[in-house]
């Protein structure tokens, strides 16, 4: 089955088996390994990417379902050697330790601010409900997202 998608602004076209999951397509066929697989059971959010601008768990989407869509992965956020403001906020506020959850966490946070540019702390915590972190205790992740929201507003 043919899949044609735009990943981080670049057109991609491949022949894939219908059962190929989007996360495997991105990692193994397109070769973008920034998107992690944590649980494989739709729980952890490590595999979060943007599908037509909205966060999705790419382990729970078939590549063929994404045919024709625009996909953004963590590799697509930085531009001209400049980190995306959300990445910069995670760095500034120490929003990561081992970093395994981080690509998914950052993508979920980007989608969250897109839908709600000025969230409260509670809204950030709730909005990142689909992403698990085993290291940070979330506190600094929440701080980073709030800082990114403030930065975007000022």
């Amino acid at each position: 089955m043919k899949v044609a998608v735009t990943v981080n602004g670049t057109k991609q076209e491949h022949e894939v088996e219908p059962r190929t999951l989007l996360v495997h397509y991105l990692r193994e066929v397109v070769g973008l390994t920034g998107t992690n697989i944590g649980c494989d059971t739709s729980s952890c959010g490590a595999c979060t990417v943007l599908l037509d601008g909205q966060s999705v768990k790419s382990c729970t989407v078939l590549a063929v379902q994404a045919d024709g869509a625009e996909i953004t992965t963590i590799e697509g956020l930085a531009s001209d050697g400049q980190l995306h403001p959300m990445q910069e906020a995670f760095r500034q506020h120490h929003g990561l330790q081992c970093g395994y959850c981080t690509p998914g966490m950052v993508m979920a946070a980007v989608s969250l601010l897109d839908e709600n540019p000025a969230p409260t702390e509670a809204e950030v915590r709730e909005g990142l409900e689909g992403n698990l972190c085993r290291c940070t205790g979330y506190h600094n992740i929440v701080k980073a997202v709030l800082a990114a929201a403030e930065g975007a507003a000022s």
Binding site: L21, G45, T60, L62, V64, Q65, A108, S111, E129
Partner: protein
């Protein structure tokens, strides 16, 4: 984890989807958002030979004013529901319940039609539609028929839909001023309800239970007690009457019965019954 092999058919219209179901019979399954079906397929608990993808039927993705009802296309996503101004005005409970489903990523993909057709007793939207007294519209080779939500759930993960029928629309009454409550009890973020209770007070009071048996259920004993003049506290004592909750890692049968009574009392009090 990768699903077993299947053939993939992308339906370009509802008619094409129905024809594909007719052609492939029991071998085929519809794919909407995939957020119930794909996890099952990855675990090989479901191994359909053919997947008929209805995810692109955008003409079945709408939330419309339909007189004294709201009509919702089956392919409408949870995120569309949780952000709908029409629902905020006319049926705020449904909007609120959609917001409590899973997490944002799940709500970006999952559909109300998929949630109802999947008929999981642990799901939130079926209970909300039951308590509201909604109606479901199914389309098959011979046209459309309406199914009352109370007649829709027939067994564990089983519905009144025939093998070649597509759920196309969900209708709920407009209840702008009605008291309502949705009590979802769980212990972890993004989790399913261990027990849930939906209550809507619109003249009479509709009460539905999550995870208290093999199907989403109406709490008929509670509804009868209220109609007979019982107080909220009295009626709630009957919440588990006639139910057959199961025991699992989260709760024993007795604990589920207890939760049903406590959550029903809270729901009725919040709904002002």
């Amino acid at each position: 984890m990768i699903p077993a092999k299947f053939d993939y058919v992308r339906a370009g219209s509802a008619a094409e989807a129905i024809a594909a179901l007719g052609e492939h019979g029991d071998e085929a399954k519809l794919l909407a958002g995939g957020h119930s079906l794909l996890p099952l397929m990855k675990l090989r608990l479901a191994t359909p030979a053919v997947l008929v993808d209805v995810g692109r039927l955008d003409d079945l993705r709408y939330i419309r004013d339909a007189g004294d009802q709201i009509a919702i296309g089956a392919l409408t996503r949870h995120h569309d529901l949780e952000t709908s101004d029409l629902l905020a005005e006319q049926c705020p409970m449904l909007r609120h319940v959609a917001h409590l489903v899973g997490d944002p990523q799940v709500r970006h993909r999952g559909t109300i039609g998929g949630s109802l057709a999947h008929a999981d007793p642990a799901s939130d939207l079926p209970a909300a539609v039951l308590a509201l007294g909604g109606t479901l519209v199914a389309r098959g080779p011979d046209g459309e028929r309406e199914i009352a939500a109370t007649e829709f759930f027939t067994g564990f993960l089983e519905s009144a839909l025939a093998g070649d029928e597509l759920l196309t629309e969900i209708r709920v009454p407009k209840v702008p001023g009605a008291g309502w409550s949705y009590q979802k009890f769980n212990r972890r973020a993004q989790d399913w309800a261990i027990v849930g209770v939906a209550a809507v007070r619109n003249g009479t009071t509709g009460v539905a239970l999550v995870n208290m048996g093999t199907t989403p259920l109406r709490a008929t004993a509670v509804e009868e007690a209220l109609a007979g003049g019982a107080s909220a506290a009295e009626a709630a004592e009957r919440a588990d009457e006639g139910t057959e909750p199961t025991a699992d890692l989260n709760a024993s049968e007795e604990y589920r019965r207890h939760l049903a009574r406590v959550l029903t009392r809270r729901a009725l009090e919040e709904a002002g019954a």
